[in-house]
Symmetry: C2
Subunit: 327 residues, 2 copies
DNA sequence: GGAAGGACTACAAACGTTTGCAAGAGAACT
DNA sequence: AGTTCTCTTGCAAACGTTTGTAGTCCTTCC
């Protein structure tokens, strides 16, 4: 029912190949003919069938975007930026949610492989070897984790964690708790590594609590442990956990920031909406989405880009961090 | 480079059509042959090329999902549910964000039309006639707005608004402000209509403030107007505006709920995270996503489903609503 | 005035599938 | 033993494009 290239050819009295070139190589067709063809196409409401085009060119002009959990406020800004950026370059985006499941993740990459020119893998739960294997089927760009031999975009959370610890140190805290994230997370290891170094440098005692699920509940559940740890400040794996922790602390009668300072990571929209507003490490998620799309599309040209892009983070001081109780 | 049906045919010593049938009509091929073919396919890592299949069957097994703003916390749960539900039925989902722009919306539907079996249009900003025209190019299901002649899924916000007004009435409020949403929104009209009726029935004065942009800023900006309106309670178009309003009221020295009760709509994840926690009307967004997918896929079979599904809403009472100040 | 080149267009094969049709082999019926 | 039926498979056309090759007609040059 929808107009095909053949309909346009018939109506405008030229061969299909001429119609095709009118769209894909305009300089090869006579201006007068081109005008006539465009006119007929317009008239018929013709739009090239991208699937058919993909069959022969091998380029679908689609990309896949796989995230662990769309409902996690970290991802929507990334998705939004990536989608918009891709669309600006005439690419459409498949979005899929793995529910934090590595198996689903692999299945999705495979299922999408033939329909896209590449896949953005955000915060993957798969092993490096799994990811490397998949990258033979379809170009991959990994976000939030470096994978040897593959292009990746990561946030400089090490810097962020250092800034956070230094900030707390300057406020006078001498004992900080680190509320860790999920076990397999590269980001989690980075934070831990960097916070440990920064704490040692600042003469600060660091208590590590975790691993924990990276959710509000995960933070909430550790409130008592945190309260009894002797620490006067906490650096949490992400905002979600920080918020859960604040809530949990309230419940056990510890007020923030008077008795306990809290610093989150990510600067999600959430952090400006809680009371007290959350001091947090801002990670440039939108920029990460755009950068990942750029890498993926560049990927096509030269054979195998291996670059690792590291985006700077910064500390955003709000109301959840303050001086330790004078006692 | 990736294995095609022809490679599998060659290796397993049968014709391509037999391989094809092994996957798309297994009962037509001899069990022994089928086993052998499947084995070879497995060996070669063969996966049918869905684009090529779509070319001939006319069914892409993809659906489009167009939302106004991915970063609006209303949408992620809907997207997540729709994507997961669709994947369970072997469909993949294109997600696109229109930035609240009707022009982008139309362009997206057209661009996606050939690549999908149908499009879910969530909270569209286009006119009904525009939508109807587009529905001739590609099956559409509209979410959050009824469009004559098209299948749609809507929330019973009228019921929700009534419950909210009654709740406030029972608490003793006699003057309520309605903080309206965007001009073109059907949901906004419904809320307004229903709140007006409920207020009259309860002997409550209703002041309508708006239209406003459906964002945190939109709520924030009206804080002073609300404070001066004489109302002791507010029903906001959505949670985002309610949260913004609470923040704005704090700034001008009005405390919630002591001096002003606030009720939101949507019950986004947000509403449990703010202080005070938000009393709000829960809309079943995940269910809406699933229902819309179901309608879209059913749509294919019988020619034109016109059904309108209305999902019930309910009031969730939390901490932002209370008795009016005794004065 | 013939050759050489340029601009434009048509032809046809290809991309990876699906599917209607036909053919062959047995099995089951009459 | 002939007919019909079922099961299984192969053949080939089709889906809507792109693109290499070749052809036509003009210009331009020597």
């Amino acid at each position: 029912m929808p107009a095909t290239i053949r309909d346009v050819a018939k109506v405008s009295g030229v061969h299909v190949s001429t119609v095709s070139r009118t769209f894909s190589a305009p300089h090869l067709v006579n201006p007068a003919t081109r005008a006539r063809v465009l006119d007929c196409a317009e008239q018929l409401g013709y739009r090239p069938n991208r699937a058919a085009r993909a069959l022969i060119t091998g380029r679908t002009h689609n990309i896949g975007l796989i995230v662990a959990d769309i409902a996690n406020p970290f991802f929507p800004p990334l998705i939004k930026a990536a989608e918009s950026h891709a669309r600006g370059r005439d690419y459409h985006v498949f979005v899929a949610d793995t529910n934090e499941d590595a198996g689903v993740e692999e299945e999705l990459v495979l299922a999408l492989a033939k329909q896209v020119d590449g896949v953005l893998l955000c915060s993957p739960r798969m092993s490096n070897t799994q990811i490397e294997r998949l990258s033979r089927d379809v170009p991959l760009v990994v976000v939030n984790r470096p994978v040897p031999g593959l292009p990746a975009v990561v946030m400089d959370v090490a810097q962020g964690a250092r800034l956070a610890v230094e900030h707390l140190g300057e406020l006078g805290h001498t004992h900080i708790a680190l509320l860790g994230g999920p076990r397999g997370s590269w980001t989690n290891r980075e934070i831990r590594r960097s916070a440990t170094i920064a704490a040692r440098a600042g003469g600060i005692e660091l208590t590590i609590i975790g691993p924990n699920p990276p959710t509000e509940e995960g933070g909430w559940a550790q409130a008592e442990t945190v309260a009894r740890s002797g620490a006067t400040a906490v650096l949490a794996y992400n905002d979600l956990m920080a918020v859960g922790l604040i809530e949990g602390l309230e419940k056990v009668g510890v007020s923030v920031p008077a008795q306990m300072s809290i610093v989150g990571i990510d600067d999600t929209a959430l952090s400006r909406r809680t009371r007290p507003m959350l001091t947090t490490v801002a990670t440039p998620t939108a920029a990460a989405g755009r950068a990942a799309v750029d890498m993926l599309l560049a990927h096509g040209d030269d054979r195998r880009t291996t670059a690792l892009i590291t985006l700077a983070t910064e500390l955003v001081v709000r109301d959840s961090s303050g001086r330790p109780p004078s006692q």
